[in-house]
Symmetry: D3
Amino acid sequence: MFSVTVRDHVMIAHSFRGEVFGPAQRLHGATYVVDATFRRAALDEDGLVIDIGRASEALGAVLGELNYRNLDDEPDLAGMNTTTEALAKVVADRLADALGESGLDGLVVTLHESHVAWASYERSL
Amino acid sequence: MFSVTVRDHVMIAHSFRGEVFGPAQRLHGATYVVDATFRRAALDEDGLVIDIGRASEALGAVLGELNYRNLDDEPDLAGMNTTTEALAKVVADRLADALGESGLDGLVVTLHESHVAWASYERSL
Amino acid sequence: MFSVTVRDHVMIAHSFRGEVFGPAQRLHGATYVVDATFRRAALDEDGLVIDIGRASEALGAVLGELNYRNLDDEPDLAGMNTTTEALAKVVADRLADALGESGLDGLVVTLHESHVAWASYERSL
Amino acid sequence: MFSVTVRDHVMIAHSFRGEVFGPAQRLHGATYVVDATFRRAALDEDGLVIDIGRASEALGAVLGELNYRNLDDEPDLAGMNTTTEALAKVVADRLADALGESGLDGLVVTLHESHVAWASYERSL
Amino acid sequence: MFSVTVRDHVMIAHSFRGEVFGPAQRLHGATYVVDATFRRAALDEDGLVIDIGRASEALGAVLGELNYRNLDDEPDLAGMNTTTEALAKVVADRLADALGESGLDGLVVTLHESHVAWASYERSL
Amino acid sequence: MFSVTVRDHVMIAHSFRGEVFGPAQRLHGATYVVDATFRRAALDEDGLVIDIGRASEALGAVLGELNYRNLDDEPDLAGMNTTTEALAKVVADRLADALGESGLDGLVVTLHESHVAWASYERSL
């Protein structure tokens, strides 16, 4: 199995609902350094899983819809706690939609919220 | 599949038995930068794999029992070579015990012994 | 010249005023991974610039007053753009106050806002 | 499942054939920071997946055959686009050959071409 | 003193002249991960050393003139060994020219050629 | 001013004397990831601060005398607390001796004891 990963980042504000979150129930924010991994069983005729330029553009477009926003005000995310792991799924699913027919077999999205904590969501395509 | 990872570290002394270890048969030591990854097929009602604060505390407690020690003198580790990969299993198994009934599906523990070498142990829960 | 650096992080929301900031004029947020460097011309009698535990506690206390907050609502920061470089000075000055008589000669605080951008403020003590 | 990873690097020149590569069709080059991960279901009698010294030597020997070269002139790579993912397979397959009978169960090779892009190839042994 | 740093990268081919370079006299290549640090004694009226977007664009433009090229064929670099330290000066000087009147006090450019080696050039403005 | 930095590591055991060290008074150990920075005002005729291969060898030789040892038993270090900052000076001074007449202007040695703490010593040559 082959994979290619590209890295980008997004800076957002949000708050959480639920006692388990303690002080993170207040409005705060995060930089997520985002790694998107594209998997493919065999390379295409150019020797690629996916062109790195195209992968970067696709990730950048998905993150651009979240960047510099307060996620508490985003209609598409209403009613959910935008935890790091939940956002990893949002990014992965939007990326899957954006890729369309791609010949890829799977996708992993990892959001690093700091140098000591990160979360991932992995799905097939 | 979702996952959450937290990072901490531990500083220990130890020595190895066996010619394969060469100069590492002498008493020396290591900083292990430790990543614990918690896996779960579906998020809980708060949108979490595991609360990052709780994950960090659990990892910190397990590492606290090893920190600032000479592993050659630890009764629980007697008779084993405390290689990086063997210690990854010790940390993972102790973490699994500490978590108890957690709803988690799996656990990966990675110990980085330097910027150029690390080892992991992966298990189900 | 000797130095010791400790690393921690803080997660905040904020917005900027001024056209130069473009979309960052909207409420958004950041994780700042914060490095505090303590400088001293000669080591103390224990062979230390500053005890790493004490340095970490001092940095953690200063960051704790900012963590999980919307900086737009902080009275102490009213009227300023809380850019990465301006916050580096806030953290450094508060750390200098917290250290009091320390025997240290200088301080550098670096805030990493992403994997591709960071800012520092350096001052004497 | 256990694993051990060692890191090394290689510096090469090459060019790509195909419009998808845009300006990378010109002769250019890359540093690949290379991680080789060795997997094994159970530890050997010394408590090892593989001795880290031996793993580093094996990786260094494979990379030494590519280092400081123009891959466009390498007979063994003739006719292929030496993309990051294609080279990950070359390194993994040569490493597998070099290891011979090893008791290992699998191998992953990751080539980092920059701080924002990397590729992997995973195979069984 | 304040500073802001932005990171980008460039991928080039080149060779060196001189016995000291050993196998690096052959045509090979490198990814340079490039950090450009901008220094300023006092912040401007927006609270900035330099806008991070503008800094990134300036660095990207300078690196764009080198990217995906064989430096042995660049007329502007003819007759020089394009070592990592020499290229750090090329990038810093070109960046200084591009910035023009900026209110900045100094500039540091660091080129990382691998995870274990990097070089810098520092100058006033 | 130009500089070149090379990275290596060393794994040692030691203990500290003094109440300030708390549990670190027990025999424990550390991996130090060591960065040695060589400074020079002007490049030599090959376009170098120092050849990276020569720099790496010099650093490796100095670290080799400490590697896989219990520093409490080293005669040359008797009577000193081998704190991270004190060891940075030991490495820098030994490196200065090993370099001899070098044309270099200064040296910085940084020892990373974990992902969240490091120390440096800077001296002229």
